[in-house]
Amino acid sequence: MAERPKLVADTAAFARRHPDQFRWVTRGRVVALCVTAAMIALFALGIAVLEFDARRFALGLLKLGEFVVFMVPPSTGDWATFVLYLKALAETVAIALLGTLLATVPAIVMGFVAAKTVVGQVVIHFLSRRILDTVRGVDELIWALIWVNVVGLGPFAGILAVASANVGILGKLFSEAIEAADPRPVEGVVSTGGSRLAAVRFGLWPQVAPVIASQVLYYFESNTRSATIIGIVGAGGIGLHLAEQIRTLEFQHVSALVLMILATVAAIDWLSDMLRFSIIGRREVVG
């Protein structure tokens, strides 16, 4: 480390040799400063436009503290209510399971249609992608509201809502997985005189099936999370009770419900992880 004292002694010469390292105003710094300033300005604009108010904020925090105190110990009051909640939780899991499975079938079809490597028609590719985008852009809660109008209140509407939103998500993921598949098995099938359908069935499907299975399992878990709130708009499941207990300020019930949801999500997380790894083996999920 004999270099350091020498360099410190002769900083001026060192700076002359490497001017970029010693310049204060560099292009990167200017850009960073501008971006930061713009972000802060936008934040300030937000505070002004969205009517943030320090007093309201402080009062709210105080109230939140009170809520937390009210939340312990978590309790559902009596056993009958607990059983009612358990039933609602089962409904939520059922919504997630059926919603995911129901979405899988059309999503697989759409996935193949939207994959550049399978259909290859520019117009079809573009249209199917845009359809998937639109379906995906409409939030699950909006789908739930629409389906409630069609089949009435209750978990069935929730199932249809989860299914609709997931067709868009899964369809896109599947089509990407299909596009990423190795083309050589497909060429092999075609070269031995196989039809297009045979090429998809024997060349592509064995490659993408594990990816599809693992993604379906992953989304089953994620849908369990989102299905817990779908009840807010009347589409069944535990969200209805949760919203009701929050609105009536029964905070012991709220914390009990949240704990039940957390436990369920953790259980499904564990289960789907196990299944996923048994399907694809211990390696990274593609996509």
Binding site: L45, L50, G60, L98, V151, F156, G158, G239, I246, L262
Partner: protein, 293 residues
Amino acid sequence: MAPSIHRQGDARLALMMGGYDAAVAAKRRQTTLGATVLIVAVVVAALVGEVDVGKFVVNLHRFGDYIVRLAHLEGGAGVLSDVGEWFWGWRRWLVMLGETLLIAYMGTLMGALGGFALCFFAARNLTGRAWVRFATKRFFEVCRTVPEMVFALIFVIAFGLGPLAGVLALAVHSTGALGKLFCEVVENIDLKPVDGVKANGGSWVEAVRFAVVPQVLSNFASYALLRFEVNVRSAAVMGFVGAGGIGQDLIEAIRKFYYSDVSALLVLIVGTVMVIDLCTERLRHALLGLRRA
């Protein structure tokens, strides 16, 4: 020399064929078992979820009707026949849309700052104390497992109706989601710069500032942009529980059966989400390219 083909004895061959059959049978058994479990699960779920195929078939035409009604104005003409009439409230809706974007922006920024401030305490390679790491990780977990709508519901009661509740709900949820991702990025860094700073007598804070942050910043920004995209979607429905944004108008239009308004609002929301998707994707690729260059 002609290759001699060694033929297994019949007994040996039978043994191998038996083994093959057993393997195939085992695989079939497993598949059947899996299919059975799946079917049972579906039937049970269908019973619990009150699936009624009859009701669905009988009412399916209503879904079609709904779509048709969405495509028609109050007077019965198609929406495209008079776009001005369709988007009659565009001034108010654009303002609401702006509010939604602002809610998503502020929620994401606050969440990113929260995640940024805490992620270094959750990273295994930077924080020695096990309890600090454990506490931070559990905090992230609670923040991201509770859906943002639940936070929004609680915050609406604490802070009153309006965008403040929505922003805070998104901020809390984003802190949890981003904190976890940030922490994973930090755990994957090259530790040599950290050693360098420490060897020169730098403190922990200086090591983070000069050795860790420059390595992770572009990844952090890319994750934050991804979260912004997700938060725009969430902010669009925050209004359902009174937490501000365009969702307020949407739920009102749906509940009051103003069909053309519903479709106009949906077009606005979906269009905005698509534009944001495209823009953030571009930006993210640019950011990650910057890092690689």
